[in-house]
Amino acid sequence: MHCGMAQDTTVPKLNFKFWLDKAIEWGQATTLESQKDVCLHLPQLQEFLHQTYETLKHMNSIAAIQQFPLIGQLLGRLCWNPFVVGYDESQKTLMWCLCCLYSSEPQNPVELKANSWIRSLLCHLLSSSKWERIEAETSTFISALGYTSADYYCHLVENIVSSLVTELRENQFNELNIQERISVSRVNAVSLFCLPLITLPDLTPLLETLLLYHGGASKEILSSEFLEAVNDAVLKKKISLSESAIFSLWHRHLPSLESATLSLLDQLTSLQINSLEKVACVIKDSLLPQAASHPAIFRIVNEIFKNALLETDGAPEVMTIIQVFIQLFIQVQQNENKQHKFPLKAYFPHHHQPLVIALLRRPFELPSTHWLQHLKHISDTLKSIVEDTNVSSFADLYEIWFLVACFGEWLDIAAEQLMKAAVAPDALLWLLAFYYCPQNENQQRTQTMVESQAVYSRLMMLYNRTVLSFGDLQASVNNAADTEQCHTQCLITHLLTNFLLFSSGGHMIAQEFISHITETTDMSKEVCSLLIRTAYRIKHNGGENQRTVKLLNELLQKLAVEV
């Protein structure tokens, strides 16, 4: 009764001709080309089958065949393609479609024949006899024992998988015996056959063995379609593999690693970040910090982050994500009790090693009284690299800048110390100036340094005032706030925000002033990021007074509402 309606909206979408041609081309998927092509089309085919079923279930069988004359041929061919039947939920949809076409009251020989054919197909899919032919022998034996084909194939797949796993593992260690070596093409074929079956839990041992399999050849043995499909399933949490298998996958297949990293970035940038706890959680779940213990993986992830930062013009959210990642990466490194850790140079091959070592020290490893000294050391080392050696190209400068930026914790502490320390060396301000304005061929950094020094001096004069008015503060920073230089504005905002958080008089006017900043400048994202980072840092390192903590929470809540 609703066939007419259905016809108008769905026929254009259901391209039977295309899929039937494909199915004919694939045959029973016996050649490598046809197998690869099937694998490529599996997801779309499943979607097509699903849509077909959704249409069919509202029709009776006769109407269905009249409207979709090619459907019989198509379903028949697909049922004989093991890749299609083995994939995800395609077999369910195929069977449901067949059920829809079955006629409960066949009126003529054609319908009878169709019914019979449908039953044959279902038996082919579900009975215990072999795929290629109907043999009675095993079936009667199994059902006499009280088991069904479901039990049988459960056992059979388990046996096949454990057999293959054993064979592959033995071959791994059997390097001397060349005769027994499993050929590279066979392993490649096996990996392709596994592609539709990735989400079948029985296959997990085989997937892991394949991912950890190294045949000694320099080229990748496993099919790239397979590796991509496994990565996809892992990222979508459709399967769970051991960590070593996942790391092996990323190590041997660059596109998978890239995909995983980009997927992590996508996930994080779409989150409403109001606390870094969530960010840390998501990053840890992704297993990338753990995988990055392997230098090759670390270097690639680092590159991707570098590019992402460039592409987003240094967006503070992205910078924060990278900083958290690096923190977690270091944590993993320190927690692992590995026999042989890789040398530092493996992770940071192009960098000045003393600088790297200095940056890698985590703040909590040093007593807070040593922080000033350490920061000065970092700043001096950095200065000597940047000013004394020949850092000419932008690319080189960016490399160094990125290294420092990754360890943002120290930068934040520098800004904090500038407020809290009785006497803070110039080096700290220089460090921040470098961060916000790395280039200096036109003396931009020098200029920034000068301007922010002025603001800083004025802030220091106000620091110990217990009562401070909005006007007072406004007056102090007014000149500087006029600067058109974005870098300088960023640095000054950073100093200001810290001032408001940590000074005695600042906290009274903090809400008001920060609102002012976010309204009159476009520094709201920077301020937000800074507050979130500070909250995270305080939570993990502690040692901050209650007033500041309370203020921080209030500010964050207000910002969360505004965003």
Binding site: P82, F83, V85, G86, Q91, M95, W96, L98, C99, Y102, S103, S104, E105, P106, L112, N115, R119, L122, C123, L125, L126, S127, K130, W131, E132, E137, T138, T140, F141, I142, S143, A144, L145, G146, Y147, T148, S149, A150, D151, Y152, Y153, H155, L156, V157, E158, N159, I160, V161, S163, L164, E167, R186, V190, F193, C194, P196, L197, L200, D202, L203
Partner: protein, 384 residues
Amino acid sequence: MTNLRPCWLGLVLVPGARRVLRSNRRRQGCQRGVMEAVLGQVAELPALLAVSRSALVRDWDPPTLDRALEWARYFQHLHDRFRSRPQLRDALRRRLRRGEAGSPLSFRHLGGCSELLGLALLENRALPPAACRRLLQRLLQGEAGFELGRLAPLARRKAASYLLEGSALFPGKPGPRVCAEAGLLLCRLREDGREAGAALGWLGPVLEQLPQPRAFAVVAEALLRQGCGGGDGDSSAGGQAGGAEAGSVAGALLSWLLEDLHRFSACSLLLPGTLLASLAGRYAQLSRRYLDLLAEWGSHLLYDPLQGRWVKSRSEEAKLCWEELRERFGCLCQGSVQLREQTQAALKLLKARDGDFQVCGLSVWTDLLLEVEEDLRKKQSPNV
């Protein structure tokens, strides 16, 4: 089958039985009566399964099919309820076994009833279209509380086994199908637990469903697995109980294999020497019988002085030629120390019986022993 309407179709006890089971009044007598009723129903299971595979289904209409599937669900429900209650479970088991002689029906048939019935009906071409349509709806589309459950993974696994079976080499080992069949056979035998001896009733007829070479391969694989320290991972009983059960499972299989001389003889001819040697190493009864059999076959070899070697006599009992016999004995001697010594002792005895000749060409046992001992010497000092 002469009755057109098996009595289970007429039974309306189902809902009532459940209600009474829950009742607390007049417990003792009532429960006994109810239990009797349940046992009576369960006794109909063989008939139900048999009918589902027969041409009698051609008279079924959709309501009949529904009833059959409901019965299957009811049996499944019984299985689930009684699974953790050993006494009731055993009572059901005994009742099922009381059926036709050689019927392998067990408690597990109750558990898998829905699936057994559903798939059997699917494959039964006599089922008329309307009933079949109803079956398809219930089986595959998950209506009326029928689980699609394992059928989707089934189709998937079947495709998986087709894809992967061709890839593996399985050199010198039994194929995965034989292993799967052996696994299921063991599962079934282990379910009988200590009463595996009772398996003798059904084991023969069931194994006859397979062609003989296959049956031997399956039984051999099952015996190998059972012999590995009381079964592999799916053996649920541990410790001493496990030992007794394992013993009776292996016992049942060995009995089948050894009770009939023709069968054992055929088996020993069909299975490879290495496999038989492994089995002989694990099972003393088998090693004895095997050695006896080899002795029998060896006695039919005659020495041909013109060719300078042993040949088969014309008689029908001469099954193995010299090379094959030698290979068999060789395999036995590559087994455990115990087996090797047993084999050598047997050869020495046979040699002595023949006259204890030291020279070649007079007694096949002398020659065999010489060759076997030569092999052992070579193995111990391969550089020579």
